[in-house]
């Protein structure tokens, strides 16, 4: 259904609308991209006064060098990478195990299990009691406080269960006939068939752990365990960076470069993974 742009009788309003629409979208794109371009450009620019230019005047990669060589900045980056990788694995393990058991229709107690975890979607203890529980378990100031609580995500379990329920029951039955026990069915049949769902929910977890900020604010006071988001926040809030030898001289450039590094992984992955992200959203809505 190809529509031509024409100003013939009767077509003019439609054509005008289409031109306006495309122009409006172009304007929106500029509004979306200018802040990003400015930050990227300034991260390569060693000028002290940036002005309005969206292209570096004095190109330099000093800022990135300092992020990757200065332990004050590099260490948080490593912490971010480690927690993202391990958090995603733990999160996927909990999610798939929970979802697999919850889709066993004949299991005694299944209804109770489902209610038991769904309740947590509506009720929670809140900030202070959760903090005190983790403190009581001596998890504060350890990365466990970051990794473990966030790995139980009921919404993800529901999504994963919906996906598992689409796997033909006959596959399970024939495997059980051949004497496979539940963990074997889970490992050899369910997981290999769930690539798309694992990618989708794995990405949700990865984004969550990479972007995690407030859990660190509450649970972590040991600066050695800061992740990159916390470090970036610290950088941005420091008005003048004279006191920090890490970034002396080109503070603003490092701020900009920090922003770029913090968003980099998903800028890279995102174009390839967009369909998995969107699959996650529509998976949730279809089931309702």
């Amino acid at each position: 259904m190809k529509e031509k742009l024409s100003f013939k009788k009767g077509r003019a309003p439609r054509t005008l609308f289409r031109i306006f629409n495309a122009a409006f979208m172009a304007l929106v794109l500029i509004l979306m991209l200018v802040p990003l371009l400015k930050v990227v450009s300034d991260s390569f620019d060693r000028s002290t006064v940036y002005g309005l230019s969206l292209w570096p005047k004095h190109p330099s990669i000093e800022a990135y060098k300092s992020i990757f060589t200065n332990p004050n900045l590099f260490r948080p980056l490593i912490i971010s990478i480690i927690t993202t990788a391990s958090g995603t694995v733990i999160g996927l393990a909990i999610t798939t195990l929970g979802a697999y058991v919850l889709c066993q229709r004949s299991l005694i107690g299944r209804g109770f299990f489902a209610k038991f975890i769904f309740v947590t979607m509506i009720f929670n203890g809140g900030l202070v009691p959760t903090f005190l529980v983790l403190k009581g378990l001596h998890m504060t100031n350890t990365l466990w406080a970051i990794l473990l609580p966030a790995s139980v995500n009921v919404f993800n379990i529901v999504l994963m269960r919906n996906f598992f329920e689409q796997i033909p029951v006959s596959l399970f039955e024939s495997a059980e006939m051949e004497g496979a026990n539940p963990p074997q069915v889970f490992w050899r049949i369910v997981l290999p068939l769930s690539g798309a769902a694992l990618a989708s929910i794995g990405l949700f977890f990865a984004v969550e752990f990479w972007n995690m900020f407030f859990s660190y604010v509450i649970y972590i006071s040991d600066t050695k365990l800061y992740n990159f988001q916390i470090k970036l926040r610290e950088l941005i809030l420091s008005e003048q960076n004279i006191n920090d030898p890490a970034i002396m001289g080109f503070g603003n450039m490092v701020k900009n470069a920090g922003v770029v590094v913090a968003m980099l992984p998903f800028l890279f992955i995102y174009p390839f993974a967009q369909r998995y992200f969107i699959a996650g959203v529509t998976m949730g809505s279809v089931k309702e």
Partner: protein, 305 residues
């Protein structure tokens, strides 16, 4: 007899299924420790904490909040929570629906795909990154926006530290980040509308505008209402976006219940008072969830609880 056999069968089934229970154990344990254990801690709201002991004080924390020493800040935070959250929700609905409709009218597939990709992008940035970008852009010293203002002959201002600027900027940043993401669900609903409806309308002589009013909007209305009420249940939870953008100069317009609870409960370690604020917030939130669920039942005939 029968009961005995049932019992034996149940036992055999439980034994056969023991692997499933074992596999569910981690989920159960995590939920118990990280979700249920804190719920017990809600009782802290009725205690006063001093460095070495705690004392039961009944409803005193709540009285302090509602009409006592904390009441000015508490009601300010409550008002800000509702105002910021609800205006954000209304703007999000209107703007996302409008964008979905406009995107749907883009004839070129490639243009549409490109615009969508860029619109979705900021949703994956953390609030820290988003706040950092705008803190830099809006900086009073040499920030991009102030450079523009000066370029056109204006006076630079410290946007994020001025009350009159903070709220509109906050709402703009929220739209900047999440408008694209919000359109996904409406675009999915739009693609579900049968093309036959439009063809029939065309035969009847209805123009595009008429079609949008008479076919598209009614078809979208259920999705719009559902998304709206689902989000309405979450208005009390507004947090990280505010936390990373606020600063002491603008607490009057930016302090919300969650940030207030954090300051009192964690920073000042007044555990009882912090829990009380949180409990009040959850209570209102629960009320909203129940109301929205009832509304959802009425509109769609199904409950999500």
């Amino acid at each position: 007899m029968g009961a005995k056999r049932d019992f034996a069968m149940t036992r055999r089934k439980l034994r056969n299924d023991r692997m499933y229970y074992l596999m569910f154990l981690p989920v159960l344990a995590f939920t118990l420790v990280f979700c249920y254990a804190p719920m017990v801690g809600v009782s802290l709201a009725f205690f006063k904490f001093t460095p070495f002991k705690r004392r039961f004080i009944g409803l005193d924390n709540f009285l302090d909040l509602f009409s006592g020493i904390k009441s000015t800040n508490f009601w300010r935070a409550f008002g800000n929570t509702l105002f910021l959250s609800v205006s954000n929700l209304i703007l999000a609905t209107i703007i996302s629906v409008a964008f979905a409709l406009l995107l749907n009218e883009l004839v070129s597939r490639r243009l549409k795909g490109g615009v969508q990709t860029i619109l979705y992008l900021p949703h994956f940035m953390s609030w820290v990154v988003v706040a950092s970008i705008f803190t830099i852009i809006l900086s009073p010293q040499n920030g991009f926006v102030n450079n523009l203002v000066v370029f056109f002959g204006g006076q630079p201002s410290y946007f994020l530290a001025e009350e009159k600027w903070w709220t509109p900027i906050y709402l703009f940043i929220c739209r900047w980040r999440d408008t694209g993401w919000g359109t996904i669900i409406y675009l999915a609903a739009l693609s579900g509308i049968s093309p036959e409806l439009y063809e029939a309308a065309e035969v009847d002589g209805a123009g595009k505008w008429r079609q949008a009013i008479s076919i598209t909007l009614p078809a979208l209305s259920v999705t719009i209402i559902t998304v709206f009420i689902l989000q309405l249940g979450k208005v009390m939870n507004i947090f990280e976006s505010v936390f990373v953008l606020q600063n002491p100069n603008v607490l009057n317009v930016s302090d919300v219940l969650t940030t207030f609870a954090y300051r009192i409960g964690i920073q000042q370690a007044d555990y009882g008072m912090g829990t009380a604020i949180d409990l009040f917030k959850s209570f209102i939130g629960l009320g909203l969830v129940l109301i929205t669920d009832a509304a959802n039942k009425k509109i769609r005939g199904s409950s999500f609880l």
